[in-house]
């Protein structure tokens, strides 16, 4: 008999929630077969068994929180038998015989139907659900307090806050209407802990600038269709990742991390770019490995794939770590400027916003150009404002002149 334990899956993960058991007692499993799906703070991972055998015990049920190192399942190794005590044998008596029993019959209880649900007709109850109104909180104006369609309509029109004050006590809507409590767990908890630590450890400085991307817009419009033929959605983000890696190579202090123990700055000669992705569960940051060695089309394709995997929680843990620099693309949703928080262990994060038509003075004349707002948050312990500004200049140069960007393609 051997216990299969929840292994250390890295990234400082100490516990996980059992989403689903993939085996049941009595199943024969092969080595490397997944036995459970476990949701960690990062993703849902499948835990494989290193050994083959027969499942004899499953520790806990779905939804349970399991610590790293504790047992998931017990396996009877080939040759071992599951204990007889755990096998139920049905004994059937074919002949009628005289049996002495004290029967305990549980007849169905007298059905006490839930008395007096809301006093309203079926169509009115449905109408309330259509408007998203909890009818049990509506005071009826009809005979004997019958809730009428008009009551539902009025209730739906009143703003929640005033409704609480305007209604008599007994008609007060249940608390859940006015407030809702969402437990902080999983990804939400991780985001909170990491961001708090980052913001209160690293002295953040935010540098803001703009890039004139008029020509990049033209280029991207032209190349978009050709990329589509290959099934690739060519995004501005791919160009920005490319430009960032070029700039990072020239300004190594932004592609770095701090080692506080040794009091050293670690400059990294590999370029793994984290991309912040908005998912239903919260922000996730998949990482494009060795982004400097990939073409713009490859970057576009990989970004799209990783983002989709993150949104559907299919992403592998290994794709969520190893970042050396992070880009957050806020522009796709809105806003002009923001102050992003550095994603540890990076020392800098680049925020990109929406490209807008802006009046720009060129040679004494006002021209309309495509302007991309950029923000850079950096850790003042690792570098200074001048380095950051130089990095931004290189970045902006490459975004302004895409030819330059293409020349750098390796």
């Amino acid at each position: 008999m051997v216990d299969i334990k929840f292994p250390d899956v890295g990234e400082g993960i100490t516990e996980g929630t059992v989403v689903k058991w993939l085996v049941k007692i009595g199943d024969e499993v092969k080595a490397d077969q997944a036995v459970a799906e476990i949701e960690t703070d990062k993703a849902i991972v499948e835990i494989p068994t290193p050994k083959a055998g027969k499942v004899s015990k499953i520790y806990g049920k779905e939804g349970d929180i399991i610590k790293v190192g504790s047992s998931l399942v017990s396996l009877a190794l080939p040759g071992e038998e599951i204990k007889a005590a755990e096998v139920k044998v049905a004994i059937k008596s074919p002949e009628i015989k005289h049996v002495e029993v004290k029967p305990e019959i549980r007849l169905p209880e007298k059905i006490i139907e839930e008395p007096s649900k809301v006093l309203a007709t079926p169509s009115t109850r449905r109408f309330a659900r259509e408007l998203g109104v909890d009818i049990s909180g509506v005071m009826g104006s009809g005979p004997g307090g019958r809730v009428m369609d008009e009551d539902i309509k009025k209730f739906a029109e009143v703003k929640p806050d005033t409704a609480l004050e305007a209604l008599p006590h007994e008609a007060m809507p249940p608390i859940k209407l006015a407030e809702e409590r969402i437990p902080i767990k999983g990804i939400r908890k991780t985001i909170g802990e990491r961001m708090t630590k980052s913001l209160f450890t690293a002295p953040h400085v935010v540098s803001m600038d703009e890039a004139d991307v008029t020509e990049l817009v033209v280029l991207r419009e032209k190349e978009k269709k050709r990329a589509e033929v290959k099934g690739i959605k060519l995004t501005y983000l791919a160009f920005i990742v490319k430009a960032a890696t070029v700039a990072l190579k020239q300004h190594p202090y932004l592609n770095a991390s701090l080692d506080p123990q040794k009091n050293e700055i670690v400059l990294k000669r590999y370029y793994n770019i984290g991309i912040a992705v908005d998912t239903p569960e919260g922000l996730m940051v998949p990482v494009i490995k060795n982004a400097d060695q990939k073409s713009i089309l490859e970057l576009a394709k990989e970004t799209e794939e990783l983002a989709e995997e993150a949104r559907t929680r299919k992403i592998k843990l290994s794709d969520l770590k190893g970042n050396t620099f992070t880009i957050t693309n806020i522009g796709s949703i809105g806003g002009i400027f923001s102050t992003p928080i550095i994603n540890p262990p990076d020392v800098a994060i680049l925020g990109v916003h929406r490209i807008r038509d802006m009046p720009v003075a060129i040679d004494g004349e006002v021209k309309i150009r495509k302007i991309l707002p950029l923000v850079l948050s950096f850790d003042h312990r690792a570098l200074d404002g001048a380095q950051a500004a130089r990095f931004m200049n290189t970045l902006i140069d490459h975004l302004r002149d895409p030819d330059l960007l293409l020349l750098d393609v390796t």
Partner: protein, 468 residues
Amino acid sequence: MVMGDIVTGCDVLVIGGGPGGYTAAIRASQLDKDVILVEKYDLGGTCVYRGCIPSKTLIHAANIIYDIRNPGNIGIEGSVEFDYKNIQQRRFEVVKKLRDGITTLCKKYGVQVIKGEAFFESSDKARITLPDGTNSTFKFENAIIATGSHPREFPGFPFDGKFMINSNEALGLMKVPEDLVIMGAGYISVELGTMFAKLGTRVKIVQRSSRILTRFDPEVVEVVSRKMKKLGIEIYYNSRPLGLRSENNKAIVTISDDKGNESELKCDKVLVAVGVSPNNKDIGLENTRIELDESGFIKVDEKRRTTDSKIYAVGDIAGPPFLAAKAFREGKVAAEVIVGLPSAFDNRAIPLTVFSDPEIATVGLDEESSRKGGFEIRTGKFPFHALGSALAMDKTDGLVKVVAKTNGEILGVQIVGANASLLISEASHSIEMAAFLEDLAGTIHPHPTLPEALAEAAEAALGKAIHI
């Protein structure tokens, strides 16, 4: 959707083709979903093969035989001969007609029916095993479980199909037993006991408490008890079976009352009708996130959604009351919720009928449960013997009771009497429409008819009945 080894998909997978399952499948298909309905046997479920329809068909025949032999005081006399096999034959024809009807409806609405057994492999995949043993895996967006229930055994007295039989086997007997012992005195016991008594069987009922039909208002049950006594049905109250043996192809049940007095009941068959157990095994529920209640029924919310958010459950498997009527409504609710409509099983009351003699039908709260629920109530009663119509038909045993809050809001109605099963629908509709006593009393009822009793009982509750 192609059968084979590869995973194929559908929008809605319905497991079980009884009232809940086929209703859900048709409604989902009407709402443009791609629906697969998996049924182990034929479409129709317990209702068509083992419950409502066979029992109602046989009870109907037994009632005609009894009424001809016992016409009462209407001035005629008659005699009747019957061959039970012919009655059973007609039962099979009725069942077949309904089965064919349901099959045609599924075809008409584009439901794909697969004969086989379904087994959840995960929360979005199920394996379907065909009768020839081949398997296919289906991926579904949503599933609706409607696997129903089966008769529960009496502890210590397992069904053997020979002497110890369940209600299904009792309905399937091709010969009327001479002596029948029934364990339990719920509605199935009373219905089948009455039916067999009318066909000539000597019926004995063993009941552990001092009442029969314990979930019904005692005043209502009293009318049925009187008639059962008249039919020669013996009821052993406060008694329990001790053992069972066979002797010359007869079964002998030893019973004991609460004082320890033992007696032996000789019979051909022992019918056990002590409730139902859920069909929750061998369908792979353990591979989903579905939770069961302490009795093994699937936990559902108002929308009939289980604790596994893509999977719904309807009918008996979703818990009591175990009524086809409830399953029909739940099936529609689950299908509508799946397509995003704001439906919910929000009914204010569920009617329940017993095809006893005379019939019982109730909806909502009775006096006892209203008081337990903390309501100040007023009640109104109207006896059948004060009804012109009941007198004309010589069906004067019966009464209607209306229970309402003191402000007049109707909480429940209990009816015992001829055609109670038909009369109850007006009461159900009144409660569902949030009616008050005045609403029921102020509605014109055709005369002379039995439903007048409802309006009269409502008036009695208001303190101003004309005819009593």
